[in-house]
Symmetry: D2
Subunit: 458 residues, 4 copies
């Protein structure tokens, strides 16, 4: 981070804020009010487990994915960073079974062992999917530098040695395990890149480079954080010839299953967003409403309309994601899979309209999102009192509260690590659109039109 | 219609096209493939009935509302006109019970008798809700002319005499029964207007004035219809002192229940739209895809993007409406009610984006939506052959098919009776927005924001 | 029309309503208040002429194009149908000169003779541009049926014989002259299709097939017209081996100028739309405001916001179109040409947002856009009085006025001949986008970014 | 800044980056290529001056406002911070004259002296307009704390003593003069708040509190700046009983002119945005195009469509702003004023669609906008080489260039000081909408509709 090695990442305030966000998934699971929603008896172990370690075994499990993500989104006001691990577990619980069925391999059993370990210890997994990709016009094996997609460089009796890099690794240091899946559908020639496996996040020769985001020095400085507890960070992960033991390898060179792997994961992950982002909008909407209270603009009808637009967007994400769960189906392995069209329908809205929700929040809040004086200025003996005098809002509102809420709005609106994921999380917007088209029954629609027009094909 | 009395409405080709659309709800219920979806054993009679006569008794019933409406939307490519009756029955099955509980009246029993009659004879009901309203600034009893909202003008031993007018009565002549609900929440002084009842559509002194829509002469002329079987018409209904027998009166002067009546009905009806309109978009999307085939523009990536936008809209309406069903709850009477926020979220999209779907369809189709020569021109000995020569599209496509599909697009895009309901059906867009705000837990959202900002109210 | 030959088109009420719209360009030119704007001394003849016969000779002339079109749009509330002729004259006045300069031909002189004739007799021209195109994947000479693009089939001493068909010929029967330009850029092999010429609209073997639009029977029936004077119609024009005398041929086989011809015309025509459509929105906005008065909804803030959106759209089209004029440049022939990027920027808004303006108008107006009873019903002895009673709106507003305004809204919102041109007039939306990209200085923008990022190419 | 006093602001790297942006207005004015555009002979002094000190004396001057702002926007890729001063000078040159005419005061002469001083020394002015406002429901004199709007607290022979605070003071430390105008229309009772004047930015008891923006520590740290030269900062300005000499007072207690003052200034400033923001989009578009080159996604048609959308937005802002200039009119003082409807039409687009331009830029660029490793990481001996290996893009592109461009995108997309001004600069979006409605001729539009509907008022 910032060119220096962190000896103890969890004590770094910036990483700590990320760990806190993931911590909320543990906190609510042990909180009396939420325990019923967040935990369940595992059919694998018979023990009560956190739902973030449970591949969905029923429609209800699919529905709970959305509901607990929404609650968490409102609770942490940013990304809680634990959904990606569940999306990997869910994907692997389907695809390893399918591979075994075709090839007589034993990935599924290996995976179930790993899953029991995750459940027993209530561990957090991190989805390691997005490769650096090099030149986008070339497939993995066509790249000049073969390491542009993570690949196996050696096999030993112990396991495989892998090399490459995965980017946008949200919360990788807050996770116990890094779960690797392929980033795209691959074809003949790409066998070395067709890999899935899991390794501990502190594995040797695995390097986490914590990149920058727009407000990353705030936690470090301990001032002007906005969100007083939680934040998000996204390292680049370099696998500098890392050993993966065989019992942790869940796919090895079966290229024709890479497509299924990535499409299952993407669908699950795009749907997870529908939950947590609607929850984040809940917090954003609350902030907009509070700012109306604090600024004295409660009666402005145009502000109320903007709040309604925000609510509407949250419900759209939530509605489509929920429907994707309710319309899910059981796969051969027993795991349930969501309806991918509805899941992607939700994500298309997120990619387009979260920016709109941010814009509305800024509009309602006012110009201080751009340039609010620092907490340090408020504590300055020379100007602090003056600032407290001049930054008053509606009568009866403590200035301090108004300042805190303004700062929270700045965080939710302008912090890049979280807002960029509205657009690029779970794959690019173009990918969501292609998916929705591919998964739709085009002929049914054509036949509707032909029948109504009275056209009979010979 | 057009200033003249129709002696036999069902033989009038324009009315007939509307009757056909409603007929599809009977046809699919007796069709082997769809029967399972469209019918169910009635808990009231023990007989197999059409779902359009069944107030939902379970989450599954709520879900089926959306699914059968979507199928019908794709099947008739316009409004099938039977959902409004079901929305009335569902509403009355909840609210009559609630009134009885408060006042010890017996509306519910009366209603159940009526319901059994509807089910036994598989009848179609028409929702008679929207009053003419006069000056919008005045409540019912403040109007200069008291008849601006339907009201009771006399009570007799036999029943009540009502006077007033209801507008936008989609399919009133295709319905067996007219079911009247109040159009808005009312207050003290409005008792005479707080009415709910049902009467046969051919009741004496009940006048159906069939108004104009943009393409209304096509069915009459029997050419250039576009949709070869189905259409929609919406009369204005005048109750010129009509007698309603007591056994058909389901609400009488209980003003404080008018709000519940209208909000239940609206929520149900807005959700119905989520089903049928997503089905209509299926047919529109099919038409867009067929036009790409027929014009030879299949490879134009911008056209494909427009089709994806159309699919996305359909799934958005469908997803939100489905979720509204799955998240429904049981009311005291036993009937299930949908989640009103999600139902209204769907309708807000419809009101804003069906116009966009139409625009996209026109864009993909091309300029002939505006000015395609008439079928009669194609049959003209002088120019018919020339038109057939010049209106060829992609190689191998019969000209006749291209012409038929163009005509269908014109119908779906430019016919006013159906497209205007995207905006005004189920209440105006402003009403959907108010509802979504009113039904949302504002304080929960505020508290999310305050907690994150570290604000503690004293 | 409707399969029958019209012996006297101008006496046909439907055609007459179109002629009236074009007539407005004459009426305002002789009206004292507007004469200054609509007429100018011709530099070619020294006589005062109507601006619709004047290729722009100055920036002021370019500006006046937009201003008089806006006035006309508000005056006729639909398309006045005379701009296309001017757009052709303007294009030919540039390109014939450019061809002559390269090839030593004499098209420009021929054209100027034709122009003087148009000016001297104050004639209306019709742009005959859009070919039927057959299979869109094939260029003109690749088509199986060579007549899919208008082409020369024979040359004689007298002139050329042309064959083919042009579609969407707005107001062809209201025009004196049909001015033909190529519909697309052509290449080697397409020489026979590279044609420009003018012929009288009643030329022998030239067939006008008047197609259908959504409300086309209203004028014929003489009721429920909405717009009491004006309308629009768009025939398909078949050139069934038509002779064009040499003195009327302005381009003949110079394929490399087809691109310039079509791009000049398109830019001019797309800009014309910026004027007339902002004028049409003026009338639509007025109708929305009147409906608020008549319905008693003046105080609804959400309606006012919708009106503001409508005004904003009108000013956007107007602003971009005006700027395109002010930023115009003189071409070698002396004619001024607009800035094509700004002209296309305006048209992109039109194609996307006129549908939105229509939606807003319908929203403000209310559901009667779908199903207002006919004028004949209001005159019916049985129900007329009842309708007059029940269709009252705000206190003090004559019912008749409310009905008339509702009918006008229906016409402006749902009549296809005019509204489809928002999308397809002047080429499809995709064409506007391609143009804006092609005409933009991409490298300038790249260099801005590289300099700011500190990137120096070697 | 950050709770500490800056002894030498211009040497602070954060402030320096802001000063550099303003410096560009001097640099281009002395650059041979741009001098003709950026300078002009002053009619007041006869000397060649920078246009940023010249109230517009002709339509050409109004047009140049937009053109030089667009060039600067592309040149600095952020706000250059000098337009607000010109907008104040332009406003005062109109309104001081109008006040004098009514009251026989001598503000105009005073102002002209000040103007000559600004021109002679080529000074930069800062618009000090937005008061802190306290409770938004209360007018200035109704506030509990009277200092919520800047006010006169004492008059002396030397001048007036003023007290209050102005917020969002873009570039106040880069300016020589602070020019104060009232923030809103005021009424009877608000006389003490009806003030306009100018004072040097380093006046005693005038305190600049430099607030925070989202990426404010980057310049301080000297790494990861993105934009290598330029940035923006916006202090809160506290007037802690500051003396303003009489010769610098340009309005004093004339409340009825406050409305004109603020509406003139707002219109000018909203139009300035149309210039500079279209220029910023030029740089953003360039960055998007470069990222396509660097990532190897040039052939992705959906990316090209997004670039077209960005160009379209730039041209929309530019077109409306230019048209506002060309349609300007001369005021009694001789200064030219723009068309306020067109200027506000441009700003409404900015407020809504700059967020969209940012979203598109992020979409095209990819996920590294969220989390790109720091320059320091690239220089780290341990991981630097690995990062250089793995962050390669398209073949032949130096990694360094790709990194620099990604960093620029992050800056332009996620830096709050500049992006928030898209929404709140020149007043809130609601204000733009109210203005456009107020300045529109509503009756003209109503009359268009009434004439077409055939309605004749008595």
């Amino acid at each position: 981070m910032f060119g220096e090695r962190l000896e103890n990442p969890v004590d770094n305030p910036r990483i700590r804020a990320g760990v806190n966000a993931t911590g909320a998934t543990y906190e609510l699971a042990s909180d009396e009010k939420h325990r019923g929603l967040f935990t369940k008896i595992s059919p694998f172990s018979g023990e009560r487990i956190n739902r973030f370690t449970l591949p969905p075994q029923s429609i209800e499990d699919l529905v709970m994915r959305v509901k607990i993500n929404r609650i968490l989104g409102g609770y942490v006001g940013t990304c809680h960073q634990r959904c990606t691990g569940l999306d990997c577990l869910s994907t692997l619980s389907i695809v390893t079974y399918d591979i075994d069925k075709k090839y007589g391999t034993h990935y599924y059993d290996r995976f179930i062992e790993f899953l029991k370990y995750m459940q027993a210890n209530d561990l957090t997994g991190n989805a390691s999917v997005t490769d650096v990709k090099g030149d986008r016009n070339l497939s993995p094996h066509e790249q000049v530098d073969k390491d542009m997609y993570l690949r196996v460089v050696e096999q030993t009796g112990e396991g495989i040695i892998v090399k490459g890099a995965k980017v946008h690794q949200t919360g990788s240091l807050s996770s116990h395990e890094i779960i690797v899946l392929p980033t795209r559908a691959m074809g003949k020639g790409d066998e070395d890149f067709a890999l899935a496996f899991a390794i501990p996040s502190d594995t040797k020769r695995l390097i986490h480079v914590v990149g920058r985001n727009s407000m990353d020095t705030r936690e470090l400085e301990g001032v002007d954080c906005g969100n007083i507890r939680y934040s998000k960070y996204c390292p680049t992960l370099i696998f500098d010839e890392v050993l993966v033991p065989w019992e942790r390898v869940f796919m090895f060179r079966e290229v024709e299953f890479t497509g299924e792997m990535v499409s299952r994961f993407s669908a699950f992950h795009r749907q997870s967003h529908g939950g947590c982002k609607s929850g984040k909008i809940d917090a954003m909407t609350g902030a907009a409403l509070m700012m109306m209270d604090y600024n004295g603009t409660v009666k402005a009808s145009h502000h109320k309309e903007k709040v309604i637009d925000m609510i509407h967007l949250a419900e759209t994400l939530y509605g489509c994601s929920l429907a994707a769960s309710y319309e899910g189906k059981q796969e051969p392995s027993g795991t349930y899979f969501i309806d991918p069209v509805l899941a992607n329908a939700s994500k298309i809205h997120e990619g387009r309209e979260m920016a709109e929700a941010v814009r509305l929040l800024i509009d309602v809040t006012g110009g201080f999102v751009a340039d609010l004086p620092s907490d340090r200025d408020f504590r300055n003996p020379e100007v602090g009192e003056l600032l407290n005098k001049y930054l008053k809002g509606a009568i009866g509102v403590p200035v301090e509260n108004r300042i805190k809420m303004l700062r929270l709005v700045e965080k939710m609106a302008m912090e890049s690590a979280d807002t960029i994921s509205d657009i690029h999380g779970g794959g690019s917007p173009a990918a969501h659109r292609i998916t929705i088209f591919r998964e739709t029954d085009i002929n049914y629609k054509k036949n509707c039109a032909k029948r109504l027009a009275g056209i009979h094909d010979k």
